[in-house]
Symmetry: C2
Subunit: 290 residues, 2 copies
């Protein structure tokens, strides 16, 4: 079973792409709706909440967890991978969405080994849009400088886009104004970006409006498909992990808030029947994990 | 020490009015920033989070707690008052902001005893604006029907106003559009409300724009002052409680997220020095309170 974690509903856009690309694998999606959104919280709080979610997914029998949340990937993944996993869960793996996104942004094909295969885009300007916490972490910048040091990156925080999506305000004059608010600085600059990455899983729901403003010359990358392609490739290169994952095509859902409300919203987004169960995170005694 | 609880920063508008009205009393303000905002969460989650906050304030030595959060007052106060306090904390009191707001909406002066003093407004239409969870609870409607059964109430949820305030978007075309989005249904109706209550502690920060749209003929009530007047009156009528409250004029602050970030934001809102400390809620073992 592959665990997929997001603070809320946004990660369902990634889950949808994953289940399409890996239709026989089992998935368990966990949404921390009771404490969402994570995008404006401090790094320490994001780390603590993400670790609780990852540990819960491990406990349910997931040897592999994908953080489908950019804020969690940007703020918690590295510490979990480098400090928590080696000491406490050496047989488990956690992957994020930042690294595959940056590879796609630089045009590195799935499966290519950085250093041997050259990214197709090595110069010029690209852009990432994300939440305040994601952008201020500079996670996309750190990864991109390793992969394509001469490719320049402009990063733009878009604080109101998640609330707009969660309020169902996908178009209209007010929404358009707040699309312009964060896109105009990119579009009115002397040099426009060649590619724009939507570095938040909610943003693809605003894609039509974003595309209208940036025009057809600039390529817009959403994360669902590119993360799915790269996870499939990662599993090919890690057959020992792939062998541990269930293959009955089962999809399960858990939320920290009301499961009926979650199921109704998730069904609308995914277009298929969802029956979620409610779980509690953060009620473990201190010291259980450390 | 009087405990004042809000999910985030909004309750500081109430705290400011309380400390001005009761300058010699000690206050402890608790903000659950790590899990804010509460406005779209399920009633069960709001109840659980609020109970954790109230119990923490009791443990710090507050015999009296004010829920300065409308969502918490609407969704958790009654159950805490009727089920939790009598069995577990019979010597403590928790008050909310819904009841005093409804008294002010109906024009009942502070200290008046419902049933003996008549509200000044007994007929016509009034309005409440609030978060989705507050409005769908119908808490303002339930209280108002008890107090002034012939006064009619229209309730309007304004889901984007809290995110707009938290993003610092207090004016501009986008904000104005979303002010109109929720106010136009009231202003374009056949009968306009005579008074509008801002039933969310964030909304006073949008007051200038709201007033511009509704005009000067409609009275707008913000909660800070009216809650302060009614708490002062309540303490006069409950001298045994008032005697238990410290009077060194001390103001203390606690948050569940980063205390430096909280202090900076709170200082800007209150115009005075704030040094917050960080606390954890929700890590108690199950069964400790029930």
């Amino acid at each position: 079973m592959i665990g997929v974690f997001d603070s809320g509903f946004g990660g369902l856009t990634v889950l949808g792409a994953l289940t399409e690309r890996l239709p026989h694998h089992d998935f368990l999606y966990l949404a921390d709706n009771a404490r969402a959104p994570y995008g404006a919280r401090s790094p320490e709080v994001v780390y603590q909440f993400t670790l609780e979610a990852v540990e819960w997914l491990f406990d349910q029998g997931c040897p592999l967890v994908v953080l489908a949340c950019n804020t969690a990937s940007a703020r918690a993944l590295r510490t979990i991978q480098q400090r928590h996993i080696p000491h406490h869960r050496p047989d488990r793996r956690v992957l994020g969405v930042v690294r595959p996104s940056v590879e796609a942004l630089a045009g590195l094909p799935p499966g290519a080994i950085p250093g041997t295969t050259k990214p197709s885009l090595v110069e010029g300007l690209v852009a990432v849009l994300g939440t305040e916490t994601t952008i201020s972490s500079d996670s996309f910048g750190i990864e991109l400088r390793k992969l394509a040091p001469r490719l320049r990156l402009v990063q733009q925080a878009c604080p109101l886009w998640v609330p707009l999506v969660e309020a169902g305000e996908l178009d209209g004059i007010g929404t358009e104004w707040f699309l312009h608010r964060y896109l105009d600085p990119l579009m009115q600059a002397v040099e426009r970006p060649r590619r724009i990455l939507l570095g938040c899983t909610h943003y693809p729901l605003l894609l039509a409006g974003i595309q209208r403003i940036v025009g057809s010359e600039i390529e817009i990358l959403a994360q669902g498909g590119l993360v799915a392609d790269r996870l499939a490739d990662w599993l090919n290169r890690h057959p020992e992990m792939d062998a541990r994952l269930g293959r009955q095509g089962q999809h399960n859902y858990a939320t920290t808030d009301d499961p009926n409300w979650f199921s109704t919203s998730a069904q609308r987004l995914l277009g298929q029947k969802v029956t979620a169960k409610q779980v509690q995170l953060g009620n473990h005694e201190k010291g259980q994990w450390e």
